[in-house]
Symmetry: D3
Subunit: 141 residues, 6 copies
């Protein structure tokens, strides 16, 4: 049974800002630039979730894509689409709303929803066509 | 001298929401759905400005692209990138921050910066890969 | 009230073939080439529906995008996605399943669903990234 | 001599369906959904073949791209483009026509055509912009 | 018989520079900037040729796409792909190698190859993802 | 502190040719085909630089994207954009101007500009949408 990776892509639109409330406005502006704008800005995010596992000889699938799609929708998109990442997402509370931290949090949201025998491989999160991050999981450090 | 259209593309990221403060929250939610979220959301906008005019036989240009680029940057991007379209853009004040109204406002910002003999043809504004508008100017109605 | 065009994009996957049953296999092969393969082939179609109308001063909309989206889904996508265009789409029966005819048929499906004051402007249908058609309506001939 | 990966992209259009003939129609519909439609559906597939090897100091190449291109065309595209993956591709016979199995089969078709010193690294196969698989070879399990 | 537009896309890679030999190097640099670099630069051009005509009721085609493809290949791509636009293209001789002039010249190359009843509608030529031109023909001025 | 990869994308336009001056014109043409055209050709290159490191708990960043962007601009783009890769880039002198060698050279240009604790992961260089290379560094051989 060959091992194959399967990727499901999703899109969502959110507002956010980068800032620390234990820093002055000047310090935030110096480190985070325009991204710390107090009135927010936003992005069309692109999210790729990649899982890996053996191909089931009966179905030809690593896992049913409808299951990954449902996990992405129910555990990520429903919470973040048309939302403010700093104010409205319980599972991002207490972290800087950077793309890096966001990708790590998404990994944890999806990993626990996978069927037995299938493992997370990668979370790719694109903030703009020119800026993106990949998280390969806690074992990849 | 043939007439040719020239298009310059630009990108920016903004926050916005759709709502009327003379409507109740329920009414806003009913008409504008998730787009009226009080904590904002945002987009990676794609903007195409198309101008039209005769080709200058000396340069082979309709107009210098650096001029269009500068007009787009100074009159649009600098005001809206990493900004809140509802709160921080003087030339959008008093209008619904819909993509339609935004495109019309951009037309007016750029049209007055064109050299003689060159006219605006189209403002194309993409809010998401699936939603976009085109404005062809006041004479096109 | 400025006139603006609004475009909604949708995606679907279908099978089809190009052939005439009043022609021999050789004739079909000669005119339609690989596209007449008796065992079918298929595409990821991209559909852009563009409508035009005055901007409503109350909402900032030409029309509610949810309405266009619903019309596209209920009158086109639900009938063609993961379907065979030659065998399973009642409103394509009796016509060659060419991209040209398909675009014309889509126009008619959507046009009757538009609210008063909004008119169809264009149906753009992409069969592959290199092949696409546009239909501007019966008045544009 | 540094080791570099080289990727060649190709496109093709095919029809397929997901189903098992030892299952009832209801069972097929339940597991495979719309993808089991008896009248087929199809896709514009995107295929990336990535090979890896040392850079030849004389040519600056890992291998001649014309060779990869020819292998992809003669061993994959010619057999699948405008074809039915379930009915017309000898090297897919007896396997579920899933994207996973398809990618594994493509690996085997290309691997035997590589020059000495160059090895397959990855087959990436995109069925739709939102659904794709990667196969890294039998040693990667 | 409805009138439909059909677009065929092609890609090619060329070198060029913008300069006038009756101008000094300083003048060329001032007007054309980096684009006048004496050692050339180059682009991956994207070309869309759009034709318009009635749909043939027998084939469902405005015209056979293989014919447009052949005209684009034989009359444009073969002459410009992997070539220097200033030095090696007879039908660009004596004109500034601007995108505007290039698009106008391509129109003339293709228009004479169309079958009766089909007319050119548009030549779209993209030099970079951010810079493009459209030529609608001599009658559109 | 999780380890995350961050990618910054950049674009540039250059001219080049593939040839060896110790080979005859015939030999160059035979090995490199159209790519050895003596009058050059060119491309819109896409460059992705990916770095890897622990997420700084204070900023949520692996490193400040402005720093990567500056390194890419000052050490790569400024030297190659609108330039001739064979004639005008000191750090490519003496190597075949292949995409493979180019990617390796870019790795070395960027690696020395990274802050402590952050390492290069990948240089991806796309010459055309169908041809690209990845270099994973000297340790990846």
């Amino acid at each position: 049974m060959p091992t194959v990776r399967v990727t499901r892509r999703a899109h969502f639109c959110s507002a956010h800002r980068l800032f620390r409330d234990d820093w002055s406005d000047e310090q935030n502006r110096e480190v985070f630039g325009d991204c710390s704008n107090p009135n927010w800005h936003g992005h069309n995010y692109v999210l790729d979730v990649t899982v890996e596992g053996p191909v089931d000889p009966e179905t030809g699938f690593v896992m049913d894509l409808k299951q990954i799609k449902r996990a992405i929708n129910e555990r990520v998109i429903d919470d973040v689409d048309h939302r403010n990442l700093n104010l409205e997402v319980p599972w991002l509370e207490g972290t800087m709303a950077s793309t890096e931290n966001f990708a790590v949090a998404i990994w944890d949201r999806i990993a626990s929803a996978l069927p037995e025998g299938v493992r997370m491989h990668r979370v790719y999160l694109q903030e703009t066509p020119n800026n993106s991050v990949e998280y390969m999981g806690p074992a990849a450090g």
